[in-house]
Structure formats: structure tokens, C-alpha cells
Symmetry: C2
Subunit: 264 residues, 2 copies
Amino acid sequence: MAGGSREPGRTVTSKVLSILEAFEKSRGALSLTDIAEKSKLPLSTAHRLVNELTDWGLLSREPNGRYQLGIRLWELAQNTGRQLRDAARPYVQDLFSLTGETAHLAVRAGHEVLYIDRVYGSKRVPRASRVGGRLPMHATAVGKVILAFEEDWVRDAYLNRQLERHTAHTHVDPQKLAAELAQIREQGYATTLEEVRLGSCSIAVPVFHTGRIGAAIGLVLPTNQAATMTRHLPVLRGIAAQIERATARIPLETLLGSNVAGTD
Amino acid sequence: MAGGSREPGRTVTSKVLSILEAFEKSRGALSLTDIAEKSKLPLSTAHRLVNELTDWGLLSREPNGRYQLGIRLWELAQNTGRQLRDAARPYVQDLFSLTGETAHLAVRAGHEVLYIDRVYGSKRVPRASRVGGRLPMHATAVGKVILAFEEDWVRDAYLNRQLERHTAHTHVDPQKLAAELAQIREQGYATTLEEVRLGSCSIAVPVFHTGRIGAAIGLVLPTNQAATMTRHLPVLRGIAAQIERATARIPLETLLGSNVAGTD
DNA sequence: CAACTGGCTTCCGCTCAGTGGAAGTGAGCC
DNA sequence: GGCTCACTTCCACTGAGCGGAAGCCAGTTG
């Protein structure tokens, strides 16, 4: 009998989104069966929706029959948060040119840092972050600096959560982290040493907007340069000031939509 | 009476997409009424769907009540076509650094060029193209160079279409354009002179992959440099060769999904 | 080469998620 | 007070969506 064990209360929209999200969890192309599994949809339902999404270009089908996210999706998304990214891009490039190190621009998204832009050289770099990717705030320099300058209630809420450990060096003690954040607020920059991944360290400074913390820029370096990475501080601060100037006339909320949205 | 004049045959998915597309047509935030109008949906239907999309983070609501595309959408889309973009990005940056001019990376998407990446300086530039944006192939240097090296049937199909005119200088005569493309194929690069927008000219070279045309890189300059822009050819060709080398081991279809999808 | 397997596609009758007109709300203005 | 405009909520109807099952096809096995 048809329609026997449907799961009521699930909207079409939510199914479509869970299909798209299936591609976040795994690198590369997915077969129909993979998609159905990851999105917890019956095969035939997945089939129908995937087909429609493919027609619209949100998914594309490779010659071998597997599916990937389509360019159309990317095109649609290019209008998102362009203000900050477009305005800041040249300065982030300068940051890379002047230092020769991988440079980042990040904002807060819920309880994580969201990497908005990233400029790097052609030499292979072990990358923990990627554009569009998220990392916990307490393990990254950009995250710490944002957290340090956030409003009290945001910081308090964050410290009350379970702080996950990425490496043996990740700071997960709420007390100590609170002290570290106070110090960051005082000195005006944050650093990490192998807290996300062994072999790399980072340094970041805040970017303010209308007096509030808006974003952060940072550099990632190999661990062996940890001792001297503060030599990049003048450049970091100079670039941050330029970004602040370039974005000053753009209202905060149009810079990145409501970037506080999207918990976890 | 309820359900009176519904328009049957329209899927929920198509409605959701038309809401997202509404944001392509206009810069900035939209009110609910705007969205309903642009997506041709009854207000209450638009309201329900917009709310659900907002819950999922695909749209975000500003303090003033207007809607914008949400960051979640952008995050989802970052996995799209990353291979080419990530691999080529450093070289496009070099292209900018070495020339000081706005540098582009573009591919073909249906009958248009799709701008994949763009590196530019902090000085204000009048921009016709933007990342994620499309332009007709016959009016841009990257477009012409792609068209010139495409398979015959693609080129023939293109020339049989109505060629739209952007400025008085756009080449819209199919005969002459065909001759121009033949010459481009011979000399290995394409140029434009105020064909999209007055005041700027451009030059581009092809980027091949497994013997076929895969993408193009180009520079945009102010018109007064038109006479001397071929001086950038050695750099353009050098960078193109580096991108070819960097992408050689990636299968063509995973570079950008099926980029030939998406007519028009 | 028949039987099997695994992944994709099609079919089709049931049913509830989606629908949209209409009524309600509330801010702003004259 | 009454009008406008933009958004929100309500609710009875119904066809778009559903998903189990059967069909298909290429590859693989005995």
C-alpha cells in the first residue's frame, strides 16, 4: 500500500536543504544512494528531488552518474555578504603580499568563526581553515580576538559551553581562557600555538565597526616562526585600520546580513 | 473559498528557487512584498516559504524587516567548483601583483562567461564583471578567447544567436566575429576595446586542460592603456601555463562540475 | 548464460503539506 | 478617528508530494 510509513511534519523545503547539506559532510561527488542515506530520505523521494534540483542547476551530474553541487548554487550565493568581502578583499591581499603568509578574514557566526576570505601563496600549505568553513572560537586566533572584544554576555555564554579539544595544546579550561581573553583585550591581539593543528600557529587583530567588534584578520604560520610572529603586528594593525576605514560608511547589518544568526 | 485559483504544476522546490532568484535581480535587501512580486507568488505563500528559509538560514532578516540572502547559502555553496578556484587563486593573485591591473578567471557557462575569481586593488575600479556574474561571450576578452578555442559546434551555435549590443563598439556582426575568432585562435589571445562598457578595455589568454579549452584569464584596463596592453602578454601566458600545470592532475569534470550546464 | 547483485528509474493510488483568499494586526500619516 | 500600507495569521480544500514496490540495466559470479 502506498503512503504507508511517511514521516509527517517534514516540509519539502527541509528535505531539499538536507540534500544540499549532505554535500557538506563529505568531500567530492555523491551517488543517489549516498544522498538518500545522508539526508535520511527514502530513495525514491531523494531521486525525485535530486532530479528537480539538477534541472534547476543546484546540483550537477557527472558523466559517471554521481552528483555534485552545481554552479548555479554558487552563483546565487555570490550576492551574500558581498559588502564586507568585496570591501576587504584588496586589503587582505595586501596583508598577504606584505607578510608572505596565509591571510584570513573571519567573522563570528553563532558559536564559531566563519572564514570569509583567505589569501595564500602557491606553495602548498596545510590548511585547517577554508573559505566558508567554520572553526571553534577558542582554538583560533581570529576566534579568540573576536570573543575577547565581544559583548560580555556573548563571551560568558561561550565560556559556559563545553570547549572542545582539537590538539593537546587547545586551551579548554574556562577559567584560564577567560584570563587569556582579558589579556587579549588589553594587548589588542591574540595568538595560538598548535591549538587547532600541530605544526602551525597564528596571530590575529580585531576589526571594529561603529565601535563594536565586526571581524578579525589574521595570519597562519608554521610553528617554527611562533617566537617572532609578533613582528607582523604593525602590518596587521595597519591593514585592520584600512578595512575599518573602507567599511565605515556601510551600515553594520548590511555588511554581512545578520551574522550572529546560525547557531553552531 | 480557499484554494480557488492555485496554479497547479508548480513544485514547492521551484517556488523556493524563484524566491532565491528574486535576489539576483536587485541589489540589496527586499521586503516580503518585493519578494512575492518578483517570484510571482501570492503574498501568503511567499510569507510561509520565506519564513522557513529564514529559519534555515538561507535568508536573513534585517532589523528593519527586510530580507537578504543568508550566510548559510554562501557556506553551502563554497564547496562548489572549489577545485579550479582554489588551485588557480594564487596564480590569479600573482597576475594581479605582476601587472597591477584587475585580473579575472572565467569559464564558459552555457552561452555566457561566468567569472570564477577576480583580484583587484583597493583603488576604485568601474566594474562590469563580478565574481559569480555572467557576461555575453562576444563582448569580453575572456569570452572571445574561450569561444575561439571551443569546439566548432559550440562556436557555430553561438554565432547563430542574436548577438546583443552593449556599447557602440560591441562586435555584433556574425561574419566579422567569426573572422575575429579565427584570428584570435591564430594569435593566441583576445582583446576588447570598450565593448562592454565605455572607458575600459581587456586582454585575455586561454587556459587549456587535457587539450581542450577549460578557462581563460584576463586583465581589464582603462581605455587609455589599450595601445600598450599587449605588453602584459608574456605574464598572462606564463600564469596560464602555471594554472595548466597546477590543474593538470585534476579530472576535467571535477574541476567545475559540468560547467557547460545552465543555458543562457 | 542464467542467476544474482546493486544502484538507479518509473509507477501509481493515497493523503497530508501546502495553499492562498480573507480577515486580523499594527505602525505611520493626515 | 479613519485611512493606507505592509505584514501576519487563519483555515478548509486539494493536488503535489509521497514512498513501497516493481522494473530496468550493467556488471559480476558460479
